[in-house]
């Protein structure tokens, strides 16, 4: 018991221009849950990828049960009893659960052939032992996210892991599913497994952790336990200064109807129904937050509203125009701004200079185009003004967007969308994966837009963000708005149940 199962000493990792890990020391004791807290970019993932052999450290040593080991690749890590459940599941979608689990350590029958039945029996045994329910014969892409995560955990256990690294495991779960996961985690530690639980959610840390370590800017800035600390203190350690957990705003003054959606139906990429009869309204000067666990039709809803996805049923009215089947440009020209969920795929042309990305939606209008000719001077002037107004950190306006940090890339999008004369703002996951400074900046700007009379539809998987910004909150579950509640009376528990598809009336018992 005295010897920690995992100990790292002086781990340092440099990337071009960044010191991702700076002499980190860490201990993991047998049977404990060690929560690792930190902002995006604090170096959590880098450290875990080093322990799991996906990166090699520049300096430092790793000890397993007191013995120094060298981990050059995931195979070495697996041999040392380390298993990792990645934030983005490492499962091949087109293969079955059993195929995914046997991958790399296949049982063979008759010299050449896969012995699937044997693997399936082994999986079923493990699944019973730890209470992780999953069908080994199901194809991964057909499974709900929660089941995929269970498959991922079994995969790690199947490889004989004693140390489990869970990387942001609750990001894709409802609060209730998260509770189920916590049960699994406890059952695992009771059976002697040790767990590193990576997260940036303070509430979870307080609930599940035995000990807590906090990373900031690649350095380990604190070690504590839930009993000794508070959420405010942890937030402080994480960010390095006082954090406003609440955005200041006046009560909303809703005006005319801007967006009215009636019984909207949309299919996803695989032509399954994704949005099943959504009805909602957004008025000028209010923020409607759409809360829900990822993958409940939010993306399809936003794409349908902005003309990017075909609508199969229902109606969309935007400022009196019927935009149900409108092209993206029509929607934009009526006065819609859209901060897309995936900034690299939709929001930016990464190879373009910042100045071109800033006119991505308006390049064809004066002053940027006059008599069929682009006006480079007007494009540059526009960029210089916006870079200044939105505090975009870029060497020049001719710098490619790809070399900006995530927060600054997001600011480019926000600058472009907010600087137009818009009536409706659709913001999907506007602060995902960016630093706290940029988050605060973007939140302030969203509220400023609202106060200027813009109707805002905010879609986010972060309940805190939804609760901080919204005036009304609509909860989406399996493509339906199952309830809309006023923000001031909404509680986290109430929303959590709704996100899991449970109405309060039903949950009464």
């Amino acid at each position: 018991m005295d010897e920690p199962v995992l100990r790292v000493r002086g781990i340092t990792k440099r990337f071009p221009g960044v010191l991702a890990n700076d002499h980190i020391d860490l201990e993991l004791r047998r049977g404990e849950v060690l929560a690792m807290l930190g902002e995006n970019g604090a170096g959590k993932s880098t450290l875990m990828n080093i322990i799991y052999g996906l990166y090699t450290q520049d300096e430092g040593e790793i000890y397993i049960n007191g013995r120094q080991v060298e981990i050059r690749n995931p195979e070495d890590a697996i041999r040392c009893g380390i298993g990792m459940v990645h934030q983005h599941f490492m499962l091949v979608p087109v293969l079955t659960v059993a195929e995914n689990l046997m991958l790399g350590m296949e049982h063979v029958r008759g010299y050449f052939f896969l012995d699937k039945e044997r693997t399936i029996r082994e999986i079923e045994a493990l699944s019973k032992q730890y209470g992780l329910e999953v069908d080994p014969r199901a194809t991964v892409e057909d499974l709900p996210v929660g089941a995929q995560q269970r498959a991922e955990i079994i995969k790690v256990l199947y490889r004989g892991a004693e140390i489990l690294i869970l990387d942001e495991p609750t990001a894709v779960l409802t609060p209730q599913e998260a509770d189920d996961l916590f049960m699994v985690v406890r059952s695992l530690t009771e059976q002697g497994k040790s767990i590193i639980f990576i997260t940036h959610k303070l509430r979870e840390v307080m609930e599940i952790a035995d000990r807590i370590v906090v990373l900031r800017g690649g350095k380990l800035v604190g070690t504590t336990t839930p009993a000794e600390t508070s959420r405010a203190e942890l937030a402080n350690m994480m960010v390095g200064r006082e954090v406003l957990l609440q955005v200041e705003k006046e009560p909303a003054a809703p005006g005319e109807m801007v967006l009215a959606v009636r019984d909207l139906r949309v299919l996803d990429d695989r032509e399954h129904p994704a949005v099943n009869g959504v009805t909602l309204e957004v008025r000028a000067g209010e923020v409607l937050g759409v809360a829900g666990v990822q993958g409940n039709g939010q993306r399809e809803l936003v794409e349908a509203l902005t003309g990017l996805r075909k609508v199969t049923g229902g109606q969309v009215q935007l400022l009196g125009h019927d935009t149900t089947h409108a092209a993206p440009r029509q929607v934009i020209e009526i006065g819609t701004a859209h901060v897309p969920e995936d900034r690299h795929k939709h929001g930016l042309v990464l190879a373009y200079p910042v100045e071109d990305d800033l006119v991505l939606c308006t390049y064809y209008l004066p002053p940027f185009t006059r008599s069929f000719n682009l006006q480079p001077y007007a494009i540059e002037t526009n960029a210089v003004n916006l870079v200044d107004a939105f505090d975009i950190r870029t060497p020049t306006v001719a710098t490619p967007a790809s070399s900006l940090s995530g927060g600054n890339q997001q600011k480019v999008i926000v600058a472009r969308e907010f600087s137009r004369n818009v009536k409706l703002l659709i913001a999907a996951q506007p602060t995902r994966g960016i630093d706290v400074g940029s988050i605060e900046f973007i939140h302030k700007n969203i509220i400023a837009q609202r106060d200027a009379g813009v109707a805002v539809l905010l879609v986010s998987a972060e309940l805190d963000e939804i609760m901080a910004l919204s005036d009304r909150i609509a909860v989406i579950y399996k493509g339906e708005i199952i309830d809309t509640v006023p923000a001031e009376t909404a509680t986290r528990e109430q929303l959590g149940l709704l996100m899991a598809g449970v109405h309060e009336a039903e949950a009464g018992d």
Binding site: N49, Y52, L54, Y55, N73, P74, E75, I78, M84, H86, F89, M90, L91, V92, P93, V94, L95, E99, N100, M102, L103, G104, M105, E106, V108, F112, F113, L114, K155, R159, E271, H272
Partner: protein, 369 residues
């Protein structure tokens, strides 16, 4: 009207004509299942056809020639993998480089080695008859009386099918082509798999090349060896949804079309009837496969792929028509008779592409972040 002998001969020739397409498609399948796009099949075939021919002539053994051809293919495959993985060349451009270099190298050395020394071929691989089985009417001559590479092709289709879907190697290959990071995290060497599979893929193209010079033509002449068959093989691969057995079926349609073209030039069949049969067969099999993929992938239980079934039925009628009614003689220029495979390819690629699913990670360099 057409009799059974004609059909037997035609279907047998069709298999021969399909052989390089199937081998080419399998080359593509091997590479792409592991995540490397191979549009250099044409060039690989050409180089192997040339090297195989020289190997046979200088060793005076056709089998040594086949071996040289296959090894040349392996080198070409490894070269494509090297460009794609080590040097991060866009894989489609890498394939184009191979195609261009193959034309240059073969035509240059064809002048230096073959023309200047007036080398001539040493014949083609002999026909092998499998005793008893070859005597079965119709099927016997088609399946069991062939030259060796054609036999090898048939065996390889089934070997590859089993290997891809029922062995650890196949599982790993598919995982690497679909989600390389997932494969990496369980300790599979992604790029090593890709080198291996692309080299194996090159060997398939090499065998196709050897087929052309050593089993089919018997000589090498710049500019007329591969005739775009490497590209048609790609279309076969895509429309077969990256599955070896589907590729065999689809390549066979092209084979029939090709074989009919040959018979037409011999002038012993009715042109219009032939076109009806080719177009009909294409519509029949294409429509049926298309309908099947639609049906299997359907979301709405009651939705029947009517258009596709209608296409298949119309095809069936066209195939049967020459056997029922007399088709008048026409005089279509022979250049036009070669068009159906090209048009068919476009139709298949355009019609099926929404319904097939390429390996998700192809064309992307895998780097450890």
């Amino acid at each position: 009207m057409l009799d059974a002998n004609f059909f037997t001969a035609l279907l047998s020739l069709s298999l021969v004509k399909a052989t390089p397409l199937v081998l080419g498609a399998m080359s593509g399948i091997l590479c792409e299942r592991s995540g490397i796009i191979n549009i250099g099949i044409e060039g690989m075939m050409l180089m192997s056809a040339f090297a195989g021919f020289l190997g046979a002539v200088f060793s005076d053994s056709l089998w040594v020639g086949v071996l040289v051809g296959v090894l040349t293919g392996a080198v070409m495959g490894a070269f494509l993998a090297l460009l794609s993985i080590r040097y991060k060349v866009d894989q489609i451009i890498g394939g184009t480089v191979i195609n261009l270099l193959a034309v240059g190298i073969t035509s240059y050395f064809a002048v230096i080695i073959i023309d200047n020394q007036s080398l001539s071929g040493i014949g083609v691989l002999p026909i092998i008859q499998i005793p008893l089985l070859a005597d079965i009417p119709v099927i016997g001559p088609i399946l069991f009386r062939n030259q060796p590479i054609t036999f090898m092709m048939l065996i390889l289709v089934f070997v590859l099918h089993v290997a891809l879907f029922y062995t650890p190697w196949g599982l790993r290959t598919r995982a690497v082509g679909e989600h390389p990071r997932a494969a990496d995290t369980v300790g599979i060497r992604v790029n090593r798999m890709r080198y291996l599979d692309t080299t194996l893929g090159g060997m398939m193209a090499g065998l196709a090349g050897a087929f052309i010079t050593l089993e089919s033509v018997g000589s090498f002449e710049s500019g007329v060896m591969t005739n775009g068959r490497g590209f048609i093989a790609l279309a076969v691969m895509v429309s077969g949804n990256w599955r070896p057995i589907n590729a065999l079926i689809i390549a066979y349609i092209f084979g029939v079309s090709d074989a009919l073209g040959v018979r037409l030039q011999l002038g012993d069949v009715n042109q219009l009837a032939t076109l009806l049969i080719v177009a009909g067969l294409g519509m029949l099999i294409g429509g049926a496969l298309w309908a099947l993929t639609k049906y299997l992938g359907r979301r709405d239980e009651n939705k029947v792929p009517v258009t596709q079934i209608a296409l298949a039925v119309a095809g069936l009628v066209m195939v049967l028509a020459p056997a029922i009614v007399e088709i008048p003689e026409t005089n279509i220029p022979f250049q036009f008779l070669g068009l159906p495979p090209y048009i068919l390819t476009i139709i298949i690629v355009a019609g099926l592409v929404g319904n097939v699913r390429p390996p998700a990670a192809e064309g992307k360099v895998y780097e450890k972040q």
